[in-house]
């Protein structure tokens, strides 16, 4: 699901494996295009709808949700490994590093 026509990411509504073709819809359920996954995308996580270069804005809901910290290809998994907040960074805490 792509929330706004300005967005460069969409959200997986089910678990998607790598290399599958997924339909992309607006919240109105209108099908707008297809995208091929480059990696597995878990339910609720994001996929790039276009090439996003390092330093480019990542857009969801038509608003900026962060900046790409690496080059992101079309169909690639978009998560904390390749996007950073422009406002506040989450600290690393010991009990999470232990996992």
């Amino acid at each position: 699901m792509m929330m706004n026509s300005k967005d460069n990411v969409a959200t997986a509504l089910e678990n998607l494996e790598a290399g599958v073709v997924a339909s992309v819809i607006f919240p109105s359920q209108e099908v707008i295009r297809e995208v091929t996954t480059k990696q597995a995308i878990p339910f609720g996580h994001k996929i790039a709808m276009m090439v996003i270069k390092k330093g480019d804005k990542v857009i969801k809901y038509g608003e900026v949700i962060g900046t790409a910290s690496q080059n992101i290809e079309l169909g690639e998994y978009v998560h904390i490994h390749n996007v950073k907040s422009n406002r506040m960074q989450m600290p690393e805490v010991w009990y999470r590093k232990e996992e």
Binding site: F43, I65, I80, R87, M90, P91
Partner: protein, 392 residues
């Protein structure tokens, strides 16, 4: 649209009829619990900042005592607190409801205090529980909205459905309130565009930038999102915020209600949507919203949640179909139908509205059927406010 509530002597309307046994500090909490135990309608609460808890805590305790859902209040003190029971009690009493207070030290200890407390609460119970519900217009409702344990479904389904409800409530003359300033960081623009006037617009920016200062002190390790958010697909505070504000609907923002050591501002009469300065931490926010006059809170969750609140019924909504399937014993409304493409946001918004009217008329929420009555309060450290140069 109508609901059946309890009319208070000051003309306000409650949706529950609680007899509140309030220990003003946690040292007397066990006595308060023993007093409330076994008496119909009685609920014991306290706060955990001890006996020198500060004015923000006092404001919250007064506010929840004044809440329309509370029919009567017994305050319990040890006797040496910085915040004496009679000082709070005298303010709460101005609402006209039965209010009394006891001191454990003066009464000579646990057994005497419990015996005296039970006498008072039993007589309050007889006085208050006979009150019959009467029909009121929906414009008398103040509903809080809050989300937590958010995942991506919250921004796509749960929050938009609740936002749709908020618009419907405001259009019907009711009021709604949201209090989680950190979950507006990155969403200033869409909120500010809704400000009723320039003054409110400035207040919105100030509330959010103050909260950002408090949670991003260089060198201090502060987590402001939970692990469940990230596992659920939310990667930055901006993304979380932009999803979170969907539950506030789209109507004008009437005001930002002050919540400081000086004043905890109430939702004024006349309806509309309000922001409240406060916190994003769940049961604490609910205490703030209750203190500002909310009678019901809607809680949107992605990961799932099992709690209630001592003062306000909590209606739980999830936008995640898998969470609803797993936890339908705790979650009142399934908005996961939006994610599945089975139902429109408008249709789920209407279901939320119907549920609010039923709960306002006495239908217990699932949390209430378990007897949940969580209560906690939040305070800002006045030293930090000074050090961060946060002006009031």
């Amino acid at each position: 649209m109508k609901f059946k509530g309890y009319e208070r002597l000051d003309g306000s309307v409650g949706v529950r009829n609680i007899i509140l046994v309030m220990a003003v500090a946690d040292c007397s909490e066990p006595v308060a619990r023993m007093i409330a135990d076994g008496i119909d309608g009685a609920v014991a609460i306290t706060q955990h900042y001890g006996c020198i808890s500060g004015e923000m805590v006092a404001n919250t305790l007064i506010g929840v005592g004044e809440n329309q859902n509370v029919g009567a209040v017994l305050l319990v003190e040890m006797g040496c607190e910085g915040m004496p029971a009679h000082a709070l009690g005298k303010i709460i009493k101005k609402t006209g409801k039965p209010v009394d207070w006891i001191s454990v030290q003066e009464l000579g200890g646990t057994r005497n205090a419990v015996t005296r407390g039970k006498q008072i609460v039993t007589s309050m119970s007889k006085e208050v529980l006979g009150l019959e519900r009467k029909e009121f217009d929906v414009s008398r409702l103040v509903v809080g909205v809050k989300c937590g344990g958010s995942d991506t479904s919250s921004g796509l389904a749960g929050n938009p459905a609740v936002g749709d409800f908020v618009d419907k409530l405001v259009d019907a003359g009711g009021a709604a309130i949201m209090s989680e300033p950190i979950e507006a960081v990155g969403a200033e623009e869409p909120l500010a565009r809704r400000a009723r006037n320039e003054e409110v617009r400035k207040k919105i920016y100030k509330m959010i930038s103050d909260e950002e200062k408090r949670w991003s002190v260089p060198g201090a390790q502060m987590e402001f999102m939970c692990k469940g958010n990230v596992d659920g697909g939310l990667i930055t505070i901006e993304e979380k915020s932009l999803g979170a504000i969907h539950k506030s609907g789209s109507r004008p923002i009437m005001d930002v209600l002050e919540n400081t050591d000086r004043l905890l501002e109430k939702v004024p009469e006349g309806g509309g949507f309000f922001l409240q300065d406060g916190t994003h931490l769940e049961p604490m926010t609910m205490s703030f919203m209750a203190a500002a006059g909310a009678q019901i809170v809607i809680f949107v969750t992605g990961c799932g949640a099992t709690f209630g609140h001592a003062i306000v019924p909590i209606i739980k909504v999830t936008g995640n179909p898998e969470t609803y399937r797993r936890m339908s014993q705790d979650i009142d409304i399934n908005a996961g139908t939006i994610m599945n493409g089975e139902e429109s946001i408008d249709s789920v918004g209407q279901r939320v509205f119907n549920e609010v009217l039923e709960v306002a008329s006495g239908k217990p929420t699932l949390g209430e059927t378990f007897g949940y009555h969580n209560f906690s309060v939040f305070r800002r450290d006045p030293r930090l406010e000074v050090l961060l140069k946060i002006s009031r």
